[in-house]
């Protein structure tokens, strides 16, 4: 059950953690963007931001990651795995859509085989979320079962209220951090409730989503795919900025007879994602690739893990070079349910 304690501000959390010599990652202004980067001074963190360019994904599933070093000849064989010890890390100030994405992704990376790289990073990291006070009309988190003040995925969620800031503690990690930060004063449930009401008013873009998986099951072939998705030019901007997209590639980078095996981000929207060595490609036309994206996120993942592989953060819409609005596609599907 969530516990509510008063906290001074997100900046104070950063300041205290830095003074305890902990590794802190916070939003940092970089030109016109905000990016989540390690900070060593409280002043470098800028919490007056809407959304960061990248999600937290990169700290658990890096864009490129070495998984094995090898040196193999007939006479000498050596395999070296990276040491899976990661420093204790605190991510402070991430939006609820980004935090929830982690608990959604956890389901896959711990399904059957456990991805040790992902898990070691997750285990060593505490997430301090920051509830939103602003949304634009590309945000659709409420249609994905979340909210601008959802605690899903955050160990502690900091919420700005009429009385100041509250820390909503949801997990053991959150409790541990709360005592580290010496938070003692109880917060008011009514204060939190009112902040929730305000958060609920932020999202202007909403559609009914519960019928979408069912429609997708029966409409793999439908003229909607061609008419709405053909303009996709097949880059990976949406996939790589998405906090829940996690498909990856495994490649070898040799240097002579030794080298490194790496795990890299990959995207189903790219043409070569499913290409066979023979040259045959089961998804040879772009709309088929975009269809896979939608089916995976809103049908297959729901089937297997019970959640949408999407938190409605809206990055895909903002970043698309040709303004293909994924929420528009979902709204269209929703209207046909």
């Amino acid at each position: 059950m969530a516990k509510l304690l008063k906290v001074e501000s997100p900046e104070s959390v950063v300041e205290k953690l830095i003074s305890l010599e902990k590794r802190v990652i916070a939003p940092v202004r970089d030109g016109r963007l905000h990016r989540f980067l390690p900070v060593t001074r409280m002043e470098d963190a800028d919490f007056g931001y809407f959304q960061a360019e990248g999600s937290m994904k990169g700290y658990f599933l890096p864009a490129t990651e070495g998984i094995l070093k090898f040196s193999c000849t007939t006479n000498e064989q050596k395999l070296e795995e990276p040491d899976l010890e990661f420093p204790e890390t605190f991510i402070v100030g991430c939006r609820p859509c980004d935090a929830a994405a982690l608990s959604i992704q956890d389901k896959l990376f711990e399904w059957d085989y456990v991805d040790e790289f992902y898990k070691a990073r997750r285990d060593s990291t505490t997430i301090v979320g920051l509830a939103c006070t602003y949304a634009d009309n590309n945000c659709f988190c409420t249609s994905m079962g979340l909210a601008p003040d959802s605690p899903d995925g955050s160990d502690i969620l900091i919420v700005k209220t009429e009385e100041g800031f509250l820390a909503e503690i949801s997990t053991k990690k959150g409790e541990k951090l709360a005592s580290l930060l010496e938070l003692k004063e109880k917060g008011s449930a009514e204060d939190r409730r009112r902040a929730g009401v305000n958060a609920g008013k932020l999202i202007t873009r909403e559609f009914r989503s519960e019928g979408i998986p069912g429609w997708l099951k029966s409409n793999f072939e439908h003229e909607l795919w061609d008419s709405m998705c053909t303009k996709c030019i097949g880059c990976a901007a949406c996939t790589f900025t998405c906090p829940t997209c996690h498909c990856f590639d495994i490649v070898d980078e040799p240097v002579g007879t030794s080298g490194e095996r790496r795990k890299n981000w990959d995207a189903c929207t790219l043409r070569t994602f499913t290409i066979h060595a023979s040259g045959y490609n089961p998804r040879s036309v772009q709309y088929k690739r975009y269809r896979q994206r939608i089916e995976h996120k809103f049908n297959y993942y729901v089937d297997r893990f019970g959640r949408f592989l999407c938190t409605g953060c809206g990055r895909c819409i903002r970043v698309c070079p040709v303004s293909l609005d994924m929420a528009e596609v979902l709204e269209e599907i929703s209207s046909r349910v």
């Binding site: 030019i233 880059c235 996939t239 303004s323 709204e331």
Partner: protein, 270 residues
């Protein structure tokens, strides 16, 4: 002007002179953003617009990257001045025949640099560099010592996530199998580390030498805001100085890197 544009599009479609009109429309959920549309039915003509939010270089849909568009029939395409230069370039590279496309040229007085820079009206500050007199930024960087320039690009490319938005949006990146996708041999490492990114971005810029017309779409679409086109402009400058050539001005002048001329500077051969 919009009425005239729509009338031309309607006439072309109904007379069956074209099978599709490639143009711009407002995004349904957001009247501060446009998106490409492919009009094949006359009832969709009313969606066509032209205004300073029409950023995309639609020429990418004429290339062989989008065969499903080519199948819609002979295209008419709404093109700004900078976009027309890429059409001319494609004709010069035998990707397109002049008679196979109807160019609906629109008088453009500038577009906004990116949708998020739109404040309701076009201002000098919100225009991309291509719309202003363009040499300024290139000269600034060129004036710095080479180590500083190398550090600048090294830092920029650390940010690159290899999403290939720059490549996919570029009308001249239409190779059936891009060099970065080739595995036999693996010319460029696919990993998004500094080394692979540096190789990728530099090689792409070199492959565009003498072809890029600086539509700056690559700048606009980069999710991590790397000023990619700056690299292309530097190369453009070199091409202009060495070969007195500017890309995309006509379809006859042979591109310098395709043709050997006795006048070519060979002082670098020692």
């Amino acid at each position: 002007m919009i009425e005239e544009l729509r009338k031309i599009a309607r006439d072309l479609l109904t007379s069956k002179k074209v099978g599709v009109v490639i143009g711009y429309a407002f995004v349904k959920a957001n009247s501060n953003r446009t998106t490409p549309i492919f009009v094949t039915e006359t009832e969709d003509i009313e969606r066509l617009v032209f205004n300073p939010l029409c950023l995309n270089n639609l020429t990418v849909y004429l290339t062989k990257k989008k065969p499903e568009i080519q199948e819609l029939g002979r295209p008419a395409i709404v093109a700004k001045g900078c976009d027309v230069r890429s059409i001319l370039g494609l004709i010069k590279e035998f990707q397109l025949k002049r008679e196979d496309v109807v160019i609906i040229g629109v008088g453009c007085e500038g577009v906004v640099r990116d949708f998020k820079d739109w404040s309701g009206k076009l201002t000098k500050e919100s225009m991309p560099t291509k719309c202003l007199y363009c040499k300024v930024h290139v000269n600034e960087l060129e004036a710095k010592p080479i180590e500083e320039r190398r550090r600048f690009w090294k830092d920029q490319f650390e940010k690159c996530i290899r999403c290939y938005a720059c490549r996919q949006v570029c009308p001249f990146c239409y190779c059936d199998r891009c060099i970065s996708d080739k595995t036999m041999p693996r010319w460029i490492e696919s990993s998004a580390h500094g080394r692979g990114n540096f190789a990728w971005n530099l090689i792409r810029a070199m492959h565009l030498a003498g072809r890029c017309i600086s539509c700056e779409e690559c700048n606009r679409v980069c999710p991590v805001e790397i000023p990619l086109n700056l690299l292309n402009r530097e190369i453009e400058k070199e091409i202009q100085e060495k070969f007195e050539y500017v890309a995309g001005m006509d379809t006859e002048t042979p591109p310098p890197l395709r043709i050997y001329s006795e006048k070519d500077d060979d002082a670098w051969i020692r």
